[in-house]
Amino acid sequence: MEQSIVERAQNVFRDIFSNPALSITPSTTAKDIEGWDSFTHITLILAMEREFKVKFGLGELQSLTSVGDLLTLIEKKNA
């Protein structure tokens, strides 16, 4: 996975959780970040769509378990 995509995603995370020191890796999950509840999750998905200019299809997100899964999906969609 490209480093740049992780960094771009990390900036989105930092904005949303209002934490400039937040760092994410492909193995990060919702449990690792305080405040990542179901509503913030929706905001996160919308923000990712906007940042990477992708649109997730229905059901595409259901099997994802980590940030890595999400970024892999984004890479696949943008390939």
Binding site: I16, S18, T43, L46, A47, K55
Partner: protein
Amino acid sequence: MEIAALTYPFDHRILLTRKKALREELLKNSNLLEKRVAILGGSTTAEVRNLLEIFLLKEGIKPSFYESEYNQYYSDVSFENPSLAAFNPDIIYFHTSFVNVKTLPVPGQSPEAVDDLVASETERWKSLWRHCALRYPKAAVIQNNFEAPDIRILGNLEGIYPHGAVSFIRRLNEALSKEIVSYPHVYMNDIGYLSSLLGLERWYDKNFWFSYKYAMSFEGMVLTAHSAALLIKAVFGGMRKCLVLDLDNTIWGGVVGDDGVDGLQIGKETPVAEAYTDFQRYVKKLNERGIILAVCSKNDPANAKSGFQHPDNILKFDDFAVFKANWENKDKNIREIAQELNIGLDALVFVDDNPAERVFVKSQLPQVAVPPMGDDIAQYKTILDRSGYFEPAAISDEDLKRSQYYEQQNRRQISEESFSDYGDFLRSLEMKAEIASFQPVYIERITQLTNKTNQFNLTTRRYTLAEVSAIANDSRYIKLQGRLSDKFGDNGLISVVIAQLEGTMAHVQLWLMSCRVLKRDMELAMMDRLIEKCHQCGVRQIKGYYFKTAKNAMVAEFYKNLGFSLMESQENGDSIWLYDIPDSYQNQNRYIETVSVAPKAESI
């Protein structure tokens, strides 16, 4: 800086990702008005709540929220609801939309059956409003209307046949609009308009609906929450009152000092001139509905004035209540404009084409709204209109006359200057006051005054329409409304006093007066009538309360000046005053002729 994202044109990226930071930034404002907002949703409301919160914070209101369980808007107010009752909402917001229309017509249904359906659907919403009025009489209600459906089975015919969903929604919106005027505690959030503003294509996000049960897209929620925040602000009297305009390259193209009157771009000769004319026409309309206009221009005064000699101007020199054209800094001029009009800086909107002036004014006077006008005159009207600074909760006749008052006020000031003795001046005004118990036709105006009067206001108690109506019919209160006219014109209803009776004591819960009649002795006329009423009701003593706020220092000594004695004075600046009514009270007002109103018009 990012707070600009909250002003039209909205920055959706920042609104989406930076809400937390924006919220923290806005919470630093120490002068926030706390309000309890119940959001009763017909779809998911979490994001609407978040957006509403930051838009309200930007308007100076700090909300706490109650949210219904998913899609429980109906049962939450229709049945006993201890948790909502305990929350005691100031605002009940029905965040509902097309998905909450209970029954749509079926294809081929008879016109009569569709009529019944419109009636029963309308009745369902009205019943919610009635429940609110009964259970939560203090609360104002914000009601979304409906957006057009996203699909049209019959294509264009959906808007023609009565059973078509498009025509059904049009009729339903029309029926709700018609009904809502009979429910003065209910305000409509017109998402029918907002959705067409955005375009249904961008309004609907079906993926968003199926996944999270959000009834509209994020952009749709931004418009909806912004509009609801403006309404809430208006309900609590926060509408701005005055538009301060630059001249050169703002209301006409060109620089009058350089290009001369004939060189100005205004009229129909060029596209640019047409755009300035169109903007002037918009400003003129604002003025006609009661927004005061002022000029603040770095200019030679004679040059500035000469610009109005161009015959194609829609705005005339006389339309401006205050005219500041000089070489002083604009913050100084804008301060003076506020002082001369007796309104707060937070009632002003400043429009200037020059970004440097905008930044400077914003930095010096953060209370003044300074919209990001950009440099395209074709967009000025839109930017000003969408920003919603002048969103009213209701338009009263008084609003429509307001701009005239200020013109008259200017003439009064001119005549004031020519008198050496102030008493002579007051006498020359030939003032007439009409002081009476609350009259039904003025209930709306009285409510409005209680919500927007900040300076001459002893307790700054805000009342809802329902509370004022209740007091009007309650014999345990003395409630006076005062109107004042003079030889220059009618000032309208400008003073309100509410006193609660308790045995032989009257507690003055509210005493306010509009600043446009300051120093006219109207307060003495009100006092005289209050005493007269006390005599009639067997009241022997009056207790007056002064609750200090950031804006009402001018009345700190009010009761003292009326002859009350200080009972109690608190560290926070509040004070309580007592007046023993003498048997032979001498009227204090000497310059105003008071007229009685026909007794049948009075409620007691």
